[in-house]
């Protein structure tokens, strides 16, 4: 009998639970009890190797040894074979897996490693080093640190985070807000969810740094209702943070006062657009606002407001802890630091890849992702969510960099990559882009509200072979109007998937493709 307590790690991330992690955790506890062994089953976030979920890790002196994917019914056999002593054939040390070694985990450093609701675990793994560093600096110096790190908005638009903060810091008002946009509605993106479920204190720390930097006292996380586990985890983390003096008055003994609240969305995709999100936070219909005024000056309830994505805010602690220069040493061109890429759809090895900007699309999809799960050839990938372009495999040499993608008529967006094999009908995907826009448009501006409906009708005619050449001209005209005339990215970017599908996969629309080479042709072709 071995009296030593063995620590076993099983994710509590919603994706891991969706394929049986809870049952696996229960079975391990039961099997250990039967074997007379003492185990501590720690529920962590997910490492992001989602094809290996449920991934079980066993602590050894050399590190954590992984087993996965583990089906609940396999647990008894694995424990009998010595899982608790890490003796059976497993995956080896998790940190040494090729998928992990290819990454530079800064924002996701603790995700999958720590118990997300253990404040002690968080501090033991470097938590609050960023905030402590920030509190020792003047607010303006914190802002300049974020500016010089090169951090750009990870929600998709890529606007420099520090510049936004500088505007809010310079504004005078009775109250300022920090709002985190966690309305991660884009298909193919799940990094916000995994960060919140796997390391929520990092988001709280990032928002607190933002509050110190701009002089805000109140923060809101607008989190989508489709993520009930994330809502639960973040709400619990906020309670713990309050009890630890990490939120409220005199945070970490400083003069800083800041409190944080979760607001749950209500099933409107458009609320991922920042002004629409602010309207929703105010209790209104999620209708897009015209800009200017920009939210940095007139945001929530008309007050100066920082609006940042989850990953932007969660990256700030590592920048403050390690210095802007260390962060900016990663990446290429004007895309500095790391980005959390997400591989989804028809992919053999889907999940999270945090790496410096500059890795190519092909390396992500083929080397790390292993191509299509179906075993068939990859035909297209959509990068950057429903409003992102469809990219053919001939462009797999494109580096993941905001400017390179823009030059190729595509966008990095939130870093989500959705893979389709050769059975996909791209005219159907183009039609879906319009119908999704028609469904989710807030209705404020005509190009989006009406254009999306006309787009569906026009594509239907093209697919049916009705006046094809005339309707293709009409479609192009409609796309141009929506691009130029829409109030926000919903209507303004819906033409991106449509035009890219048509340009690269014209044969699916009954016309020859205009571009079949791998060259980076113009964005507005």
């Amino acid at each position: 009998m071995n009296a030593v307590t063995v620590r076993v790690f099983v994710p509590r991330d919603a994706a891991a639970r969706s394929v049986g992690a809870d049952e696996v955790a229960e079975r391990i506890a039961a099997a250990a009890a039967t074997a007379g062994r003492t185990v501590e089953v720690v529920r962590t976030g997910s490492r992001g190797m989602l094809w290996l979920e449920p991934l079980v890790e066993v602590e050894t002196p050399a590190g954590r040894v992984g087993y996965g994917p583990v089906a609940p019914e396999e647990v008894d056999g694995l424990v009998a074979a010595g899982l608790l002593d890490a003796t059976p054939e497993g995956l080896g040390l998790v940190e040494d897996l090729p998928w992990m070694r290819r990454q530079q985990r800064l924002t996701f450093a603790r995700v999958g490693v720590v118990d997300p609701l253990s404040a002690d675990d968080f501090e033991a793994h470097g938590g609050y080093a960023g905030l402590r560093a920030a509190l020792a600096m003047e607010p303006a110096a914190v802002v300049e640190e974020v500016v010089s790190s090169g951090l750009r908005g990870r929600g998709g638009a890529g606007f420099p985070t520090g510049i936004k903060w500088r505007t809010v810091l310079g504004a005078t008002a009775d109250i300022k807000f920090v709002c985190c946009n966690a309305d991660e509605g884009d298909s193919g993106t799940f990094a916000d969810r995994m960060l919140i479920e796997g390391d929520p204190f990092t988001l709280i720390e990032g928002m607190t740094i933002a509050a110190h930097a701009v002089g805000a006292t109140e923060g809101y996380v607008y989190l989508r209702s489709e993520y009930p586990e994330a809502v639960e985890t973040l709400s619990a983390a906020i309670e713990i943070a309050r009890a630890r003096g990490w939120l409220g008055e005199r945070i970490l003994g400083s003069e800083l006062t800041f409190d944080l609240h979760v607001r749950v969305g209500a099933g409107a995709y458009i609320c991922g657009e920042e002004t629409s999100m602010l309207e929703s936070l105010e209790g209104k219909r999620g209708m897009v606002r015209a800009k200017p005024p920009i939210p940095a000056l007139e945001g929530l309830f008309g007050r100066p407001t920082v609006v940042n994505n989850v990953l932007s805010l969660a990256t700030v602690p590592t920048i403050l802890a390690g210095g802007a220069a260390a962060y900016a040493a990663y990446g290429m061109g004007r895309s500095l630091g790391t980005n959390v890429f997400q591989l989804g759809g028809n992919i053999a090895r889907g999940g999270i890849v945090e790496t410096a900007f500059g890795i190519t699309l092909g390396e992500l999809v083929e080397d790390l992702g292993g191509g299509a799960a179906s075993g068939r050839p990859v035909r297209a990938v959509q990068v950057g969510g429903p409003l992102g372009a469809y990219v053919p495999t001939t462009q797999f040499d494109l580096p993941m960099d905001y400017e390179s993608f823009a030059a190729a008529g595509a966008m990095v967006g939130h870093g989500g990559i959705v893979v389709f094999d050769d059975t996909v009908d791209m005219s159907s995907m183009a039609r879906f882009a319009f119908s999704f826009c028609a469904e989710e448009s807030c209705g404020k501006c005509t190009p989006c509200r009406v254009g999306a409906v006309r787009g569906v009708e026009t594509i239907d005619r093209i697919r049916a072979g009705e006046d094809r050449s005339k309707n293709l001209v009409l479609l192009d005209d409609l796309c141009e109007l929506m691009t130029d005339g829409s109030l926000c990215a919903m209507g303004g970017l819906t033409p991106l998937p449509v035009r890219s599908a048509l340009r690269h996969f014209g044969e699916d629309f009954g016309v020859p493709a205009t571009t079949t080479t791998g060259s980076t042709d113009g964005g507005t072709a």
Partner: protein, 162 residues
Amino acid sequence: MFMTTDVTDLAAVRAEHVRHIATTLRDVRGPLIPILHAVQEDLGHVDQADVPVIADVLNLSVAEVHGVVTFYRDFRRAPGGRTTVRVCQAEACQAVGAEALGEHAKRRTGVGFGATTSDGAVTLDEVFCLGNCALGPAVQVGDRLHGRVTPARLDALLGEAR
């Protein structure tokens, strides 16, 4: 001797409940959506009769509250089934057969998206992204997420829900 409950009494009880929720949450910033979520959580849906009560507590017009209720997909105007089953129909799940799974779900339940089975057991709906894009097709049963859902697995989940 037997007891009867007047319909007006039920309506009054509900209105009182709604008023209590709205009054409790009235002082949070932007209280309307938290109130609507709480009403739906407690009472299953947001009834047309709830709208003037909430409007009264928040000092808003009925039209303003009505506009918000109808804007957001989450808020139900009529009671739903005991369990809500939502099949993801977004791109990443489409890439692994979500449309066929959605059609299968409609055939199995005999209802379309947004509708409830005649026995009141299941409300079937579509959803655009559950954040499980590497393990699709994804389905949500109540608050519980399921990944790599095959038609057979969906049948089992529907069976548990009935």
